[in-house]
């Protein structure tokens, strides 16, 4: 075994100052295993050392928040004695090294974060960013990630109901895979991780421990270089069948009173789960690794403590319920082993083969964990956008935009995800702005979405952060739901670079401002830094996962236009083309400021739309986002299988800016009663205008050109199948 010194600590990801703290805490040179424990607990991934001071700026409270950040997942009260438990988490680094397993275990990990709190998972979503589709590697990564998400989610029987996908060359070496799980529990049956009861047994359940994923948390805290392939052994391998058994066994045990505390073994495996459980409970913990279920022979204490083998949980049980618990896990044919007990020492003590391999005081391990207020540069405001004449006309631009990778149909992807298992999926992927899943046995339904527009964040991280929150809130509103809370997944580059740290700080401030204005607290989340390959950072990507509630699932609206409907545009249209997809795809520029977010207008317009939907008489609603008004109209036509004829734009706005501008806080409503909507909007002080009506034959533009639905559908669905077949 290597000698423990500053050089070894550095190779484990601890800098000289951090290693100095280790020496202070221990009062001696740590053992190899102890150094391993410090290094993973103090990794960026586990300690949030660069982000912690800034995350405090996010609003996290509301009367309906039961547990905010700090638990395995956020918990909110949704009424009828029920809680929604949800979180989003990244698996970016593993997904580039090994796309299938990286994505699959990302899904597995976030599922465990949710069912460990007592919830049955009812929905999965994701937020994916990939590199330039022109590169062969991008195709391989997309194919692997989609298969991995499907392979895991389909097998565990949790429907994958929503998500988003973007492409940009900034993700060439660093795709983002953010997975979100939502579960439901009774508000009086929520399980936490704080251990209690000196002498109580510490029980390990699930899969056996192998050598996979050792130091995964450290890998996730470093940049990539040309040797990334050599890191493949640090990627874990998932087993969704075992996860399914673990869900059922845990939920069966949770129906009893046996569990005092429970925590999944995620990043940094047995180390972080045991340290966090004991630390939160203010007790000590002693583990005897001789009893740890092992998949391989000859594993060392270091390997067992740092393994990230999947599908494992750690529990503290009531001693008199140990046999009951064992019988449940044996029924589900899962390993069940008492591997330790709680102590009053305040230390974690790890024994193996009769030796003490680690003995670390828990308080200083947590309290002296590094936390950095890293230097940051305020982002430079983007230069104003110059003249942008229309080079190709409205019809050609529309056909090109709806076919581009960022706007085309996602059916090729979502057709590989089981979205109906559970029998509660009210709105499937693509049918509505948010997925809608009913709660079995109730009228209640959840509306769920993931959103972020990274090109906006790159141009102006503050506005981009606010826009991501606002768009998620709009998407929930558009199905008629009351938005309740947010989980975030903050994906950024190397925080040691002041310009990256500046993006992070500004994005958090923009998010915080939007969350406050919209009463939309952040209840859980994850930070993924060092998303760089050979010095090139990704676009700043603060992905937002959001949840809202519908008291009556049958009131949920989709985006399908129906015969007899009139289209009413709500919200102000100014023709903002800066950072729009029209500008990028048609004019070939990524330039200008992103559309400004007016949070007062967002609030007013959204509350108005929700009221309209609740009063009835609205058949469909679609928020305006990427691609602007004409793309939104087209999506409503394709969803409804009907055409429409459109009115001419106002003379004050250039036609291409009117049809493709990405002004915020706008919704398209389909209604048979436009006069009522216009009257109500006027009374509420909202800009509103009839922009067209449903017609049987295709999309008729002002001026008389008609594009058939077949031509629109062909353009919209062509990209993915053709790309994958090429």
């Amino acid at each position: 075994m290597k000698m423990v010194d500053a050089a070894l600590a550095k190779s484990f990801g601890l800098n000289a100052e951090e290693y100095g703290k280790v020496l202070d805490i221990m009062g001696r040179v740590p053992s190899f295993t102890e150094l391993g424990i410090f290094s993973v607990m103090w990794s960026e991934h586990c300690s949030y050392k660069s982000s912690r001071v800034w995350l405090k700026e996010l609003p996290t409270k509301a009367p309906w928040v039961i547990h905010g950040p700090g638990e395995n997942a956020g918990v909110i009260d949704i009424g009828e004695g029920l809680a929604a438990i949800f979180k989003m988490e990244s698996h970016n680094h593993p997904s580039f090294i090994e796309p299938y397993q990286g994505a699959a275990t990302g899904v597995g990990g976030i599922l465990r974060d949710v069912f460990t709190m007592g919830a049955r998972p009812i929905a999965n979503l994701n937020a994916l960013r990939f590199g330039d589709p022109a590169l062969a590697v991008t195709k391989r990564v997309v194919d692997g990630v989609v298969r991995g998400i499907g392979g895991y989610g389909n097998c565990v029987g949790v429907p994958t109901v929503g998500g988003e996908v973007n492409f940009h060359p900034a993700y060439n070496g660093n795709p983002l895979v953010n997975a979100m799980t939502v579960g439901i529990a009774r508000t009086d049956k929520i399980f936490l991780s704080a251990a209690a009861g000196i002498g109580n047994p510490v029980v390990y359940v699930g899969s056996r421990t192998g050598r996979d994923g050792i130091h995964g948390a450290t890998m996730a805290s470093a940049e990539f270089d040309a040797d990334s392939d050599a890191k493949r052994p640090t990627v874990q391998v998932g087993d969704p069948f075992t996860e399914k058994l673990l869900i059922e066994a845990c939920l069966e045990l949770m129906a009893t009173d046996a569990i005092i505390a429970i925590q999944d073994m995620g990043a940094a495996g047995l180390t972080s789960s045991s340290v966090e459980m004991a630390g939160k409970g203010g007790v000590g913990i002693e583990l005897n690794l001789d009893h740890c279920p092992q998949r391989e022979t000859g594993m060392t204490a270091y390997e067992m403590m740092l393994s990230e083998s999947q599908e494992r949980m750690l529990m503290v049980l009531r001693p008199d319920r140990q046999d009951l618990a064992r019988r449940i896990f044996e029924k589900w044919e899962l390993d069940f082993a008492v591997i330790g007990h709680l102590t009053n020492t305040g230390h974690i003590v790890v024994r193996h083969h009769g030796q003490v391999e680690a003995d670390i005081p828990l308080d200083p391990l947590a309290e002296l964990a590094p936390s950095y207020r890293r230097p940051f540069l305020e982002p430079t405001p983007p230069a104003p956008l110059g003249e942008t004449p229309d080079p190709i006309g409205i019809e050609a631009a529309l056909l090109k935009l709806i076919a581009c990778p960022d706007l085309c149909s996602r059916a090729w992807i979502t057709d590989q995800y089981d979205s109906t298992v559970g029998g509660q999926t009210v709105k499937r992927p693509g049918a509505a702005d948010a997925a809608v899943v009913r709660i079995e046995g109730h009228r209640l339904a959840l509306a769920l979405t993931t959103d972020c527009t990274p090109r906006y964040c790159a141009a102006d991280p503050y506005e981009g952060g606010a826009q991501a929150v606002a768009e998620a809130w709009r998407n929930l509103t558009a199905v008629g739901a009351r938005p309740l809370a947010v989980t975030d997944n903050l994906n950024f580059g190397n925080p040691e670079k002041p310009e990256i740290m500046g993006q992070f700080v500004a994005a958090i401030r923009g998010m915080a401002e939007a969350c406050r204005a919209l009463d939309f607290p952040v209840v859980s989340g994850n930070v993924s830094l060092y998303n760089e390959t050979e010095g090139t950072a990704i676009l700043p990507t603060p992905a937002i996962g959001a949840l809202g509630v519908l008291e009556d699932a049958s009131t949920a609206l989709g985006i399908a236009l129906a015969p007899g409907d009139t289209l009413v545009l709500l919200g102000a249209t100014r023709g903002h083309l800066g950072q729009s997809l029209w500008l990028r795809e048609i004019a070939g520029q990524e330039a200008g400021p992103p559309p400004p977010v007016d949070l007062a207008a967002e609030r007013r317009n959204g509350d108005f739309v929700r009221g309209l939907i609740q009063r009835g008489g609205i058949n469909a609603c679609h928020d305006l986002s990427d691609g602007g008004l004409l793309v939104a109209v087209t999506e409503m036509l394709l969803a409804g299988g009907t055409g429409a004829s459109l009115a001419a734009p106002p003379e004050t706005i250039a036609p291409h800016a009117y049809w493709f501008g990405e002004d915020q806080a706008r919704y398209l409503i389909a209604t048979p009663n436009p006069a009522t909507v216009l009257r109500d909007a006027q009374a509420a002080g909202l800009p509103a205008a009839v922009i067209g009506r449903a017609e049987p034959n295709g999309l008729t533009l002002p001026g008389g050109v008609t594009i058939s639905l077949e031509a629109l559908r062909d353009a919209h669905t062509r990209f993915f199948p053709a790309w994958m077949a090429a």
């Binding site: 499907g150 389909n154 059916a411 089981d418 298992v421 029998g423 009210v426 009913r438």
Partner: protein, 219 residues
């Protein structure tokens, strides 16, 4: 009719199936753990979808060896009704209760979307509430739904009226002769790949699958 739903480790559509059965039958089905060996009192045994034992061997091959499957064979031999959906269909072919096999989908990808099914005959206990030739919608969600059998078997299935449903819009998984579901010779065992149990409520997009359960409830 008294129904029971078999539960193997890795099955994941038992809740959907229980909802559909309860909706049509008015009573909840009994859930039968795979280690049970007694099915007496049940008229209908349902094997739902999922990934029994992870489907790490051939789909359904492990479950076919489970203790409860001996009881299912006895139940079938007594003329009892059996419905296998998706993984349940695979388990029925693996255990020899239905002929043929389900291979990987022709495109080698998981397929999750609605498909249209044509009812080949409306005179069975499973289809009396449909019309012969009726086309209805059913979600499908499988990686291994490509039905195959030798030509003699396929000819016999067709000749003896043992085809239950065919894909009516598009044969996405490559199944021989567009077969989506088949009967045993006495028409008391039905296996099919798509999921009528996931379309029994207008809120979830329709009730196209409900007649199948109404048919059974009326038998």
């Amino acid at each position: 009719m008294k129904a029971g739903i078999l539960l193997f480790p890795g099955i994941n559509r038992e809740r959907d199936m229980a909802i559909a059965v309860t909706r049509s039958f008015g009573v909840a089905p009994r859930i039968v753990w795979h280690k049970e060996t007694e099915l007496s009192g049940l008229d209908l045994v349902i094997i739902p979808g999922g990934f029994s034992f992870g489907d790490y061997l051939r789909c359904g091959a492990m479950a076919a060896q489970s203790p409860v499957m001996r009881a299912v064979k006895d139940h079938a031999a007594r003329g009892g009704y059996v419905l296998g959906v998706c993984n349940g269909f695979q388990i029925l072919t693996e255990s020899g209760l239905l002929p043929g096999a389900l291979l990987r989908n022709a495109g080698l990808r998981f397929l999750s979307m609605d498909t249209m099914l044509k009812v080949e005959r409306a005179d069975t206990v499973f289809t009396s509430h449909y019309q012969t030739g009726q086309i209805f919608r059913a979600p499908m969600a499988h990686g291994d739904g490509n039905y195959t059998a030798d030509d003699a078997t396929l000819d016999r299935l067709e000749g003896e009226g043992l085809i239950a449903f065919r894909y009516a819009d598009q044969n996405r998984n490559g199944s021989a002769r567009d077969i989506a579901g088949i009967y045993s010779p006495n028409h008391r065992i039905l296996g099919l790949m798509p999921h009528p149990e996931d379309l029994v409520d207008p809120l979830m997009g329709g009730e196209d699958g409900k007649p199948l359960f109404d048919s059974l409830a009326a038998a």
